[in-house]
């Protein structure tokens, strides 16, 4: 139940004004510039080009390549995060021995700066002095080009993403598991349901709303991946691991191609919104069935 009191304005306006100020300007500014041709280096006067920037981008194979790379990284890493996160959360929820230590350990990666994570990853993946290559040669592998061959570099970025963000999935799913009622499980135990049946028919369906939310959040955040790629491969080799944000950064801060960058950002926003809407539309029937 909500009430009405003039003091409510005093409560909400500080937050509202700050967000309006900081978010409306970027929106207005970049939407305007996205319809212009505008360069700072070399300085060029702004010129109205309509949808020119958008058309340029959509016909640029590099844009599609970058969008594809980002999608690949996002989908594979979020998928892995969910599977691992759910397994670990289930184990923790059922009181694995040493649960307390695991909890602190599991939380750590999420709180480490992505830049630092990427730097550590580069050390570990280093071909000559990294421990991973030494470990792999023990098993008879040759020296692996973790960051200099496209498929390995993509794999490495995905592993780093999984390392960093699975904790978030664990955290959320664990909290969700703890809210599930005990009596359903007691009933199932009376009927001699196997643990697998209990998982399939009780835990997973009941966890579905939270799972959907967690995957949604992670998917959107994954699309913005930047720090890790920036430090680990810089988008290389060539442009094979370049992501959308990194592409925007290159165009905006290296070439100062403002109109192009703004158009890119808006395509990015449209892209994310479409993916979000499709995701929600696909999941809706399942979510409603288990409500």
């Amino acid at each position: 139940m909500t009430r009405n009191d003039p003091i409510k304005h005093f409560f909400i306006w500080p937050a509202l004004i700050i967000v309006l100020l900081i978010s409306i300007f970027p929106l207005v500014y970049s939407l305007t510039t996205s319809f212009m041709s505008m360069r700072l280096v070399p300085p060029m006067p702004a010129r109205f080009v309509g949808f020119g920037n958008y058309a340029d981008l959509l016909s640029n194979p590099r844009f599609w390549h970058v969008a594809g790379t980002t999608t690949l990284i996002a989908i594979v890493s979020v998928g892995l995060q969910y599977v691992i996160g759910l397994s670990v959360a289930l184990a923790l929820n059922s009181r694995v021995p040493g649960e307390g230590i695991f909890r602190v350990g599991f939380l750590l990666p999420m709180l480490v700066a992505p830049v630092a994570v990427a730097l550590v990853a580069r050390q570990i993946l280093n071909p000559t002095m990294g421990p991973l290559n030494e470990f792999m040669t023990l098993f008879g592998f040759p020296n692996l080009p973790f960051l200099t061959r496209t498929s390995w570099a993509l794999g490495s970025i995905i592993v780093v993403e999984v390392w960093q963000w699975t904790p978030f999935v664990i955290l959320m799913l664990l909290a969700g598991l703890q809210t599930l009622p005990d009596d359903v499980y007691e009933a199932a135990a009376l009927e001699n349901a196997t643990p697998w049946q209990q998982f399939r028919d009780i835990t997973f369906p009941m966890l579905l709303p939270i799972s959907a939310a967690v995957v949604f959040i992670r998917l959107i955040e994954s699309y913005k991946i930047m720090d890790t790629v920036f430090v680990m491969t810089g988008g290389g080799p060539g442009v094979s691991t370049e992501t959308l944000t990194l592409f925007a950064y290159q165009e905006g801060f290296k070439k100062f191609n403002l109109g192009y960058t703004s158009a890119l950002s808006f395509l990015f926003l449209i892209f994310i919104t479409v993916i979000g809407l499709v995701y929600l539309a696909v999941l809706k029937p399942y979510l409603e069935k288990h409500k």
């Binding site: 009191d5 900081i22 694995v96 944000t245």
Partner: protein, 342 residues
């Protein structure tokens, strides 16, 4: 003992899996810790794992870091600390107030008022910049004030069109996180330089960076705190209202103390977010208010890959967050984060 507790072989299987994951989680952190104590020669010579056993630890990297031989480390650390603490405190405070308002008070406005705001802000900016020839800064300030005033005034009248309420405001807050941060960072940089020309220094300044961080933490604070407030029993507040206690005293005297765990958790999540933030810091700071992630990333390119010093710098950025992980996990155990996910 709960029915869901694992028994027998499965229990050991789960333990094995968890140990494997823990090793994967902790190894990189262990590696960065030992590398920061190695000599350059020991790093280049191939991987070594145990201090005093297969390499002799040294403090060279740490001495260089603290003495400032690798960039103004001390200043950066203090700047990072000041900015992230104040941004987290302010964002939690302002966000908690907004979240409370959205949970307990009724907000109604017409879609048309919101549209007026967007159109006037947009049109005013374009008009000021391209027709009247004002600078970006001036036209932004004028159009923003005009848009806000018109939107507020228009909401007093009975306008046609659909009515929006609390949930729409929450959705609007949360949707701010969907915006690609690169756009915001870049445009904000330009806005700050424009305002700088008017005499307020915002690029590489305390106010500019903190303000940006508050704005970008608010969506998450509103989202988390709203759930904490919703979980609070309303009876206490109703009893206070019967006694004619004013709303602001109900909030500061009753609600805030009751939601202390939620506030702490939200504060820490915000702090971690600001402490680790890279993109905004990269755009909005240059020297005086540079933050740690920028310094850490800078170690990378300065003189080739000097892993020992990179490790030491990275570790400084990591350690405060490790301490926080410990505190957060204790909060979690008491089920305090449960409210956050409903």
């Amino acid at each position: 003992m709960s029915v869901r507790t694992l028994k027998g072989k499965r229990r050991w299987l789960a333990l094995g899996g968890c140990l494997l994951w823990l090793a994967f989680t902790l190894f990189p952190l262990y590696w960065v810790a030992i590398t920061s104590f190695k000599t350059p020669l020991a790093v280049v010579g191939g991987p070594t794992y145990l201090p005093f056993v297969d390499f002799e630890p040294t403090l060279t990297a740490w001495n260089e870091l603290v003495s400032g031989a690798r960039g103004a480390f001390y200043n950066t650390f203090v700047a990072s600390l000041i900015v992230s603490l104040s941004a987290a405190v302010l964002a939690t405070g302002i966000g908690a107030m907004a979240a409370y308002a959205l949970v307990r008070f009724t907000f109604r406005f017409r879609l048309l008022s919101a549209l007026i705001f967007v159109v006037v802000a947009f049109g005013g900016f374009l008009l000021g910049q391209y027709a009247l020839g004002f600078g970006q800064g001036i036209s932004l300030i004028y159009s923003f004030i005009a848009a806000l005033a018109l939107a507020v005034i228009s909401s007093r009248f009975r306008l046609p069109g659909p009515e929006l309420g609390n949930n729409d405001i929450v959705f609007w807050f949360v949707s701010q996180r969907m915006f690609p941060p690169i756009v915001a960072a870049f445009a904000l940089y330009l806005m700050y330089t424009e305002v700088g020309k008017l005499g307020f220094k915002l690029v590489d300044s305390y106010i500019g960076l903190t303000f940006a961080y508050i704005a970008f933490s608010l969506p998450i604070v509103v989202w988390l705190m709203r759930d904490f407030f919703e979980a609070l029993p309303i009876e206490v507040e109703e009893a206070a209202m019967v006694d004619n206690v004013p709303s602001w005293r109900i909030f500061f005297g009753i609600v805030l103390p009751m939601s202390k765990p939620g506030l702490i958790a939200t504060f820490m999540i915000t702090l971690a977010f600001v402490w680790n933030e890279f993109l905004f810091a990269l755009f909005l700071t240059s020297s005086k208010w540079q933050t740690l992630p920028i310094l850490v990333a800078g170690q990378n390119s300065q003189r080739g890959d000097e892993w020992w010093s990179i490790s030491a710098a990275a570790l400084v950025a990591i350690i405060p967050m490790m301490i926080m992980a410990g505190i957060l996990s204790r909060l979690m155990r008491s089920g305090l984060l449960l409210g956050a996910i409903k």
